[in-house]
Subunit: 285 residues, 4 copies
Amino acid sequence: MKSSRNTKPEPTEVSIGDIVVGGVQTVVIAGPCAVESHDSLMRIARSVKVSGAHLLRGGAFKPRTSPYSFQGHGDDALKWLGEARAVTGLKVVSEVMDVRRVEAMARVVDCLQVGTRNMQNFDLLRELGRVPNAILLKRGMSATIEEWLLAAEYILAEGNPNVILCERGIRTFESATRNTLDLSAIPVVRALSHLPIAIDPSHGTGRRDGVAPMTKAAIAAGADAVMIEVHDDPERALSDGAQSLSLFAFDGLMRDAARIADVCGRPFQDQRVVAFSSRTIGGAI
Amino acid sequence: MKSSRNTKPEPTEVSIGDIVVGGVQTVVIAGPCAVESHDSLMRIARSVKVSGAHLLRGGAFKPRTSPYSFQGHGDDALKWLGEARAVTGLKVVSEVMDVRRVEAMARVVDCLQVGTRNMQNFDLLRELGRVPNAILLKRGMSATIEEWLLAAEYILAEGNPNVILCERGIRTFESATRNTLDLSAIPVVRALSHLPIAIDPSHGTGRRDGVAPMTKAAIAAGADAVMIEVHDDPERALSDGAQSLSLFAFDGLMRDAARIADVCGRPFQDQRVVAFSSRTIGGAI
Amino acid sequence: MKSSRNTKPEPTEVSIGDIVVGGVQTVVIAGPCAVESHDSLMRIARSVKVSGAHLLRGGAFKPRTSPYSFQGHGDDALKWLGEARAVTGLKVVSEVMDVRRVEAMARVVDCLQVGTRNMQNFDLLRELGRVPNAILLKRGMSATIEEWLLAAEYILAEGNPNVILCERGIRTFESATRNTLDLSAIPVVRALSHLPIAIDPSHGTGRRDGVAPMTKAAIAAGADAVMIEVHDDPERALSDGAQSLSLFAFDGLMRDAARIADVCGRPFQDQRVVAFSSRTIGGAI
Amino acid sequence: MKSSRNTKPEPTEVSIGDIVVGGVQTVVIAGPCAVESHDSLMRIARSVKVSGAHLLRGGAFKPRTSPYSFQGHGDDALKWLGEARAVTGLKVVSEVMDVRRVEAMARVVDCLQVGTRNMQNFDLLRELGRVPNAILLKRGMSATIEEWLLAAEYILAEGNPNVILCERGIRTFESATRNTLDLSAIPVVRALSHLPIAIDPSHGTGRRDGVAPMTKAAIAAGADAVMIEVHDDPERALSDGAQSLSLFAFDGLMRDAARIADVCGRPFQDQRVVAFSSRTIGGAI
């Protein structure tokens, strides 16, 4: 098994531009659930950059439970993501659903996300094994960790080693949260695999008041990255508003979470740029 | 919602050749998990036909948890299924995984199956809404019934009304069975939708000794169809051997299950052909 | 392990008066969730007797999720159950929760029920191992079958062999039903143990429209007994009204279910009394 | 509802001797799963005290899935716990299972624990509402948070306000961990209730390599207390050895976790005694 720590003991570092997931730094991915408009995306991208996020997320093609829900702005959204990247310098994470679009999306998106519903869409996984991009592979909402690693294996087996696992909550009987975020996946994955692991506390809890505690918990438990939904107007978000942080709340969380990342020896900032960055944050908000 | 009983109170009948799923008759679908060889498939097809099965199942493209497991014989298997259909007269059910193959498979397979892992592969569902074939939509292993009906809605919304729902077990903490077969989905689906519902006791239990009791239970609970894995040499099956019935065991089950179907007013046999069929069974085994 | 089929291959038959659970006959236990009043209980008891039930259930001490919900009529209810038994001849099943009450209840209740919340109340189980009564041991709502058999072992180990297992639904993510009734527990228990198994489709589904299909399914799957909540005025029941059958609906279900029990070779009626009983039913409702 | 934050907005502080659970301090409870011998307990108690634990846990009466497993040393264990308390000054937490023992145990144990299997043993809860001790109420392994708060309500309603909730993992389909530790219970409980919440990462993961990451995560997420199984010879523990930390590993965890508690503003040590305590730790191990 290529994903196994027995095969490759040293941790895999996945580079997305200058950002390394699985290295010393704790990486923060932030942005809207869905890209809703050019202006909203630019506002969010600029703000999360200033707050210290390292990568920008945003959905162009949305997997929606109902065919009658908003399905994403598609190619327009991809174009806006490219513009946000140009302006902020943040590399972009976005979900690919249709195997026929992999090649085109791989040219404009830095890190391709596989959603929870597609974790075992094996034809899609194989196709992603043939592009050079980083792949963020979300855990299926009822997948065991073993099955998740085997899904990663489909990508690795085709030749793409740049896989980041992402825990996003599993299905249980509890209804107070949208899913149950399984943070123990972090030590279990560490024991079994060399692949880096990210945590998505936004989908993992589905509650705004759960995002900050679970983000801090994820970092304390050793997550390589966290992925957080941020919106410039959460009350009016077209999807997942109930779990999105405001720009202001995200900025506060970054400060609190940074202290935990620091004492855990996995800081948010490459030490060479901390001084500059602190000044920027101080001045911009 | 097109799938809702409020929109269309009368039950939907899905025709596959002469066989009607959702009508008076209880329909039995039988065959191997994967089509393993020409000869094995022909043996199984002939035998289940004689035992009274109405449709032949067989996997050509197999969704396997590991990339290193047997992935199916692909186009060869499709050709053999066509031959088995020609010889036995049984229409064929087979799974499609790759959206790029829908059109080609729709020409040679009578009923296209969506597997549990693809229940929310929305691009695949949309494509299946554009072919005229019957679609057997398996419930996701952790999907709620509401999500399952919304997945069906993706197919219906594109114009294909021929959807058969298929319960195949859900994920729970119980480990004595591979999944927990949720037979209460039958009354719940009846209350919410006009679509017919099939039950797969083979995947639903993952145990050979669970297949007969759960098949009988499914029929007693009002299932429109049951789908049963049958193999001519279960101990050597390339996949799912532990849950496959032998040809002999399947024949015995058909006799027991037929009595339950009869007293429930949903017989296995169109009454016009019972006399002929009984003679055939008597002579052939 | 005393509960194991390896230790004792032949099935255990548990006698409650003249009724044998685990023998040829399929046994029907019916009655209200909670005993609500003398008159209501008498009406229900008489009616279910005429419809063909073999045992009367009724809660005197109710385990309620909230301390502010109706907790049962306690000793009054026990007295009324005794009266209903005297009038109808139906032996009585009722739940014991408090270990300090076991001795007293064992004198007036024929079959003591252990509720799902107490399946691993080990002191209670041990005490029930020291009385001669039949014990109906409900499966914990998140217990594996292995744990359930080990709970039975606590009773058997103390010397009481009269244990009936009762599946009543397990916890899953599905919310359309109160629990997910795990009928595959029937073949699994059969394979592992000699103890008889009952099914409770009322708690198992929590929906009135689920009770009849799941009762029939349970019998078809080989249940030794079914336990059904029946109320003379379900809309006004103090507990579990949404899942209780009316007297009339229960009578109809008994007729349908009897036909399935017959074809499965596990009839409701001891053949010696069928003629008499049919006449009674015909005349009384 | 007495447990509701609407009824009582300010957080409840539960005092156990000088230790306050629910105050500024993060409280650490440590000790063996079961008290196995006088000498082992004394060794563990002295060591965890030196490492900085605030309370000593140890099982005298053990709820075991099988009647044939070690059931605890009972009254002997209680005596040894009393001795360990006298020597170390650590107050003692121990589980009560049998309602008939509540009064006697309340005299010798500082904090009475209700195990996960007894969360809905309502007679036991009521009896615990009538003693003055602190009660550590573990969440049922398949209980919703709402049901857990209603179980607490049984204790509060009888007049005992000193309830500490304790999350210890819930049942899911994942098998790599014994349970799935639901840390999102922390923000959910905070939103609904004023009661303090503890986390048990030992039972919550069932893996030694999961205890440290989940302890740190729990503190980062805002837990009021953590409860950790520690053994002087984990490989030979009579119960739960696979999830117990060695004395040495626990000491290391305390140092790492203290840093997280500090940056979260919930330090392990009352600031008045930090200087003294640091010296003690430095000298003793």
